[in-house]
Amino acid sequence: MIQFENVSKVYEHNGKELRAVDGVDISIEKGEIFGVIGFSGAGKSTLVRLVNLLEQPSGGNILVEEDDLSRLSKPGLRKMRKRIGMIFQHFNLLESKTVLHNVAFPLIISGTPKKKIKARVEEVLDFVGLSDKAHQYPEELSGGQKQRVGIARALVTSPDILLCDEATSALDPETTKSILQLLKRVRDEYNLTILMITHEMNAVREVCDRVAVMENGQVIEQGSIFELFSNPQHPTTKNFIQSVMESDIPPSILSGIEERGGGRHVYRVTFVREKAAQPIFSQVAKNYQVEVNVLFGQITELQGIPFGQLVVELLGEDREIVRALDYIQRTVSVQEVEADAG
């Protein structure tokens, strides 16, 4: 469990104040994968470093597993840090040491007996699928393998929390997918709480339960992946969602609508859950004197739930269209599309 209560971090630079994190309230449940997404400079990197006090907060409280971080002594903090694993964008492995030694490192510094270290390291290396690479050096590994070493190193002390700092941002899409699946397995098998920060909406959509969107140090929107995708409020959130779900109507289709002139009825219909499977439009066409012209759309899956958006044009008498629309609105969410606004 990680709880941010009105947390701020202010940097002073040449007499100017920079609020990297500004009044953040986030509550992350045990066993949850929580994503923080934002463009670079949004403050998410600072936010994640506040959890293990790599950065000192300027204000507010951070509770980690019931402990108030600011009250910990230096040895107490080091002890707490052993319960928080962290992985990084650039892996941050010791280049001069073997994979085995890298993974053993957290145990070595906490004075674990050698025999125990060996057994535990073999266990986690097996979990991340790198048993055969134990005696190789980081520079002999691919990016994905290096991140697996990073994950093994973070897991070796059996922590309660795993912090991921842009953990997949330096990887290609295929590798990103496999690392994200590994993180999911980590959560499922070890019941870890995972806080991941990223600028990739794809990564968030793939594994997160809930997500917070950050901008200028503030959380501008947070909720379940589903809530955010199906009903984004803030323009930045919409931007991120567009990065993985094309929701802009392509210009050629748009100009086609415009050419036909006034009286057009174009709507964006958002389907969620089982409704995506319902043959809504065929029912509409059957029951009302309208024709349905699907202009554009896509259907995908979010956390195992079908989710789709269609842009449709209703053709027919105004009165019938109003009735049809009323029917559609009873089951799914509908938005009128202004042709010029897209």
Partner: protein
Amino acid sequence: MQVNLLEFWPKILQAINETLIMVGVSLVVAALIGIPLGIALVVTRHGGLLQNSAFFKGLSVVINFFRSIPFIILLVAILPLTRFLVGTSIGTAAAVVPLVLFSGPYIARLVESSLMEVKPGVVEAAEAMGASPWQIILRVYVPEALSSIVLNLTIATIGLVGASAMAGFVGGGGLGDLAIAYGYQRFETDIMIVTVLLLVLLVQIVQTLGNVLSKKMRRQ
């Protein structure tokens, strides 16, 4: 010329011996001083593990001070200190004192630059794991920079070979002294050529050893 060389051979052997002692002893003592100082420079600087600006600035000024004095002047200027430390101001042992004062601060700077090459992210990762500052120094900074430190110590060693020739001039003996005393001042060109060739050979050996050792240290 052959006769001449044979006659001088024991002198040359003795000179080699003196050079090796001067360079070897100075290197060990200077490294024992310079390496900790280099580490101190890195960890006390702004944003370092044990940030202490006053200490950092003070140390930096002292190191710069010693590094700015030309060796030949240092040699003479510290004669009283040398006499106090080793009981005499001439001979091979006496030459070690100025050589240490000359190369200790130099090694501190070289070690500093080696340690600065360690990626901050690796240090941060160790901090995040709950490593203490000491553990980070001994288990992250030093092993990660060791290959580079060895290369830099090789540079310092070769610098010491050069400086030891000058130290020899004021009574320390060694190959440099032989070259100057016989070859330059008494026009025995063949002796000068032999000693210079021996110095060239010595530097080649040191650099090769340094390269091999440095490569080994990249993977421990």
